[in-house]
Amino acid sequence: MTATLPGVGSADRAAFRPATFADALRSEWVKLRSVRSTFWSLAITVVLGVGLGAAISAAAAHGYAKSDAPSRLSWDPTSISLDGIGIATLAIAVLGVLFISSEYSSGMIRTSLIAVPRRGRLLAAKAVVFALVTFVVGEVTSFTAFFLGQALISGHAPIATLGDPGVARAVVGAGLALTAIAVLSVATGTLLRHPAAAISAMVAVLFVLPGIASALPDSWRNPVLEFWPTQAGGQIANVRIAAHSLQPWPGFGVMCLFVAIVYGIAWTLLDRRDA
């Protein structure tokens, strides 16, 4: 075959424009949508978030009749309907970790860094694209889970509507908390590079360490869980705030601060390490 290339020549080469952050965003979007694991992980997020939320709502609604006065006082139908999202978070965490760490395991990272040698730009584009996708999927999941949960509770126990104080914030907030986890998982994947190590770290932060903390004596447990980033961030999806918990927005702020710190470390290491 002839190897003559169309558009060869210094005149053509002089005409190109510098690559921008928007270019990197488009590139990362193609990367995300063109692998099968993205579809499956997002489908699992929706199914778990909505399905588990429905099951928990139905069970709680049937238990309401037999419950005592104090537990009726803390009845939070919004938070109950959004409970499934806590587990669905795992699917987002795995996908976020894989979004970058699979580039390390396949060697694609070198191809990516040759295309986008400004490493901060590459990481930011990845984080922004994955955060936006998670935000959309997260809001769809939380609104669906909310309405389905209230429908299942209705008739058995008091329900919440979006107009009630704090409810709209909680439903939107469940998607926001998921988005923060999305950024955290991309940063963790960048930091640790190995998919298994990064997924384990995410499981530890999300589930194992809070579980261990809740087994501690009260004087230890309360402050630890109050400020544990994922626990604090989760307050944004609650309408009734339990004792020893941060308020919704300050809690979410603690989580965002934690995510920002991990992201900052990931960025620094990505920039300095040999790829």
């Binding site: 075959m1 002839t2 190897a3 003559t4 290339l5 169309p6 558009g7 060869v8 210094s10 053509d12 080469r13 190109f16 424009r17 510098p18 690559a19 921008t20 270019d23 990197a24 488009r26 590139s27 990362e28 193609v30 990367k31 063109s34 692998v35 099968r36 694991s37 699979s102 580039e103 396949s106 060697g107 694609m108 990272i109 070198r110 191809t111 990516s112 860094l113 040759i114 295309a115 986008v116 040698p117 400004r118 300095r272 040999d274 790829a275």
Partner: protein, 306 residues
């Protein structure tokens, strides 16, 4: 134009690249030669900003790679053909790379046609043979229509047709005035593809020369002689100061170094020695290379005991 000045890369106690300086000029295919572990890939990774040099610097058209405003438009590179996400279709792989540098989508189909992968564009890369992966890697290097091209072992895994195609492509790219740097450990391949050579061993520059000069300057130039009086000729040549190998198992054959064929012929005539064969033997590129790298290994070993 790729320029390296005093490039050094150390990994702990190991020095992978040791004070390398070179310029790679446009319009030529420059072969980057060295045995395995000589530092070829490490050098290429430093050119591409993947690894930071411990000392020294390397620039592409006067700028370090990380500072290029649209790197794929200026440099096309194929380092490792298998460095792709296996779950991503070939076309999407090229598309995400193209978009990252603002290269139009139409160019993706163009390079797929150019490398002959248009029929498998929708297949996921993990199903690709090494040869197909090499073509995909070459396609990604050509995406930005760059003036500088860097290929690490591009014919690895290709069938004879593919090798011929790559060879033609490299030469065409150089003829178009581009800078082409190709690494290989296949000396015979370089003889056919490259017109300039950069030879490294143990991370050090051994030779920066044209292919012709490289072979000509190699120390192994000898004269092959077949004669019924081989033993007598051997003695005469030794008297004249040449080194003679043989006669060995074949009592009629000797190899003379240190004299050219004309001198051997005259010497034989002066002593009435009959010659059946008188053949100047020029070291092949392969032999010249082995000779050079052998020296570098010996040098290195001496350096260690010091």
């Amino acid at each position: 134009m790729i320029e390296a000045r005093g490039l050094v890369k150390r990994y702990g106690a190991t020095t992978a690249v040791d004070d390398l300086s070179f310029s790679i000029r446009p319009g030529h295919v420059t072969g980057f030669l060295g045995p395995n572990g000589a530092g070829k890939t490490t050098t290429m990774r430093m050119i591409l900003g993947l690894d930071a040099p411990t000392e020294g610097s390397v620039t592409v058209d006067g700028r370090s790679y990380r500072d290029l405003p649209a790197p794929m438009r200026e440099v096309g590179a194929l380092l490792d053909a298998k460095a792709v996400h296996g779950g991503r279709p070939a076309r999407d792989h090229l598309l995400c790379l193209a978009l990252s540098n603002g290269i139009p989508r139409s160019r993706v189909d163009e390079v797929l046609r150019l490398v002959g992968l248009e029929d498998v564009a929708r297949r996921r890369a993990k199903g690709f043979s090494l040869g197909m992966s090499q073509r995909l890697g070459i396609a990604s290097a050509l995406l930005g229509d760059p003036a500088v091209l860097i290929f690490d072992e591009p014919v690895n895994g290709l069938d004879p047709d593919g090798i011929h195609w790559v060879r033609t492509l490299m030469r065409t790219l150089a003829t178009e005035g581009r800078t082409v740097l190709v690494s290989s450990h296949l000396m015979s391949e370089m003889a056919l593809t490259a017109d300039h050579l950069l030879v490294i061993g143990q991370g050090r520059l051994i030779a920066d020369t044209s292919v012709d000069d490289f072979v000509r300057s190699s120390s192994r130039q000898s004269v092959h002689v077949r004669s019924p009086q081989a033993a007598e000729l051997a003695g005469r040549c030794r008297e004249a100061g040449a080194a003679v190998d043989g006669p060995g198992t074949d009592p009629d054959v000797i190899e003379i170094t240190g004299m050219d064929s004309a001198e051997v012929g005259k010497l034989a005539a002066a002593h009435g020695i009959v010659l059946f064969e008188l053949v100047p033997v020029r070291a092949s590129l392969e032999e010249a290379f082995m000779e050079l790298t052998k020296d570098s290994v010996e040098y290195q070993a001496a350096g260690v005991t010091r």
